[in-house]
Amino acid sequence: MPREALLAKTLVELADSLVADFDVVELLTHLVDRCVEILDVSAAGLMLVAPAGDLRLMASSSEAMRLLELFELQAQQGPCLDCFRTGQPVVNSDLTARDGPWPRFSAQAVEAGFHSVHALPMRLRGTVIGALNLFDFEAGRMREDDVEAAQALADVGTIGILTHRAALEARVVNEQLNQALNSRIAIEQAKGMVAERTKHDMQSSFSTLRDYARSHNLRLVDVADDIINGRLDVPALDRPPGADSA
């Protein structure tokens, strides 16, 4: 299959896998495997910025220790870090050049047999979230259209990650929504139980629950839960802290 067709097919494939509940690591691993094939390089990896701000490897086309170490080293220096910081592609760097920008990284890369290295930013609007890293045993240069193809693949990875993050955030917010709904209901039910037992109205029943929670340093919803489930007697609500158990 010609490269253009393979690239198009891969982009469609990856976009298709962005469905609900997709596995982001699986998607990114698929992506780096395709990078090796389409861009005709020896190895590819995706590094993402962690919440602490450092770059971490998310997916690699090979598990060879020497390659993994090269990714790891780039938390401190290397094309990925430069690319991440500037948001610009770092391509066709000469690893054998004297006085290169990354002495430790270059020495280790050459020792691992690589002659060229490239990094493409993973960015969306103003945010750079990581970089796509390509290694080659050959000393070849990337042409303009190679860089474009590599950037297109990096962009798909970016979309995948952002979609995944949005889904995670939505899940967290929804859990909070459910919790909030459930605790409101529990409190109303507990108010009803207190109102029935004490013959007071809803407002003063609520005050009774709230005062008990405050004076015992408990969450209102936990007191409500205990009342509903019979773990706490309504008469006990009037007792001061410390007088609960004999």
Binding site: V194, A195, M202, V234
Partner: protein, 223 residues
């Protein structure tokens, strides 16, 4: 983000060209409350589903798909035995439920009704999906600002969570020494058996005009 939650329902009904729309918030397969409804028929559709635990919203949420009933008065399937009668009597002829979801997260369901029978056109169906999507995003955006454990003020302000029903459940649970879940079932069966709304029964309980512990034969007493 300023957003008039109550207008969400109007938007949903307008873009799909339906007679009315309602948005139900759900969790754990249970209708928790109605976020909005465009008219009294939509409000009844929400109320019935909240009280009876069945209807297009409940199914759309549970099954995670659009639920379409183009002819409620002469339905193909005998689903929603309790819901259908009162809904048709109120003028609902076609009813559709769409899940509110963002990715794999489900928040509730949108229901659309029309006062004449007939299927949705492909375009209306597509518009309904977009409307449900916008509503789901809007709810999440609002709730995202709320402190942990709290409901967003905007949702609390507009949503009808039928708190009186839960208060009444607590009171009946205490009267009969049963769980609040069982108490809610007692309230519902009383409402259904006496052709009353769950709300009305709950209000009577909370205002102490109705007790459930005075008799043993199930015919509850008015005080």
């Amino acid at each position: 983000m300023e957003l008039e939650t109550a207008r969400l329902c109007t938007m949903c009904a307008e873009v799909t060209g339906m007679s009315g729309a309602g948005i139900m918030l759900m969790s754990g397969d249970i209708a928790r409350g109605s976020l909005c409804s465009t008219n009294s028929v939509s409000a009844l559709v929400e109320e019935l589903q909240f009280s009876l635990g069945e209807g297009p919203c409940v199914d759309a949420y549970k099954d995670d798909r659009a639920v379409l009933e183009p002819d409620l008065a002469d339905p193909h399937t005998g689903r929603w035995l309790a819901f259908t009668g009162p809904a048709v009597a109120a003028g609902v002829r076609a009813i559709f439920g769409f899940p509110l979801q963002v990715g794999a997260v489900r928040l509730g369901a949108l229901n659309l009704y029309r006062d004449s029978p007939g299927s949705l056109t492909d375009e209306q169906h597509a518009d309904a999906l977009v409307a449900a999507d916008i509503a789901a995003q809007a709810i999440l955006v609002l709730q995202a600002k709320a402190p942990p454990g709290m409901l967003a003020k905007e949702l609390e302000a507009v949503a009808d969570f039928r708190y009186v029903v839960h208060q009444a459940s607590g009171m009946v649970a205490a009267q009969l020494d049963i769980s609040v879940v069982q108490a809610l079932i007692r309230l519902k069966s009383h409402a259904f058996g006496n052709d009353l709304s769950l709300d009305a029964v709950a209000k009577d309980v909370v205002s102490r005009q109705l007790r459930f512990d005075a008799t043993t034969d199930g015919s509850d007493s008015r005080g």
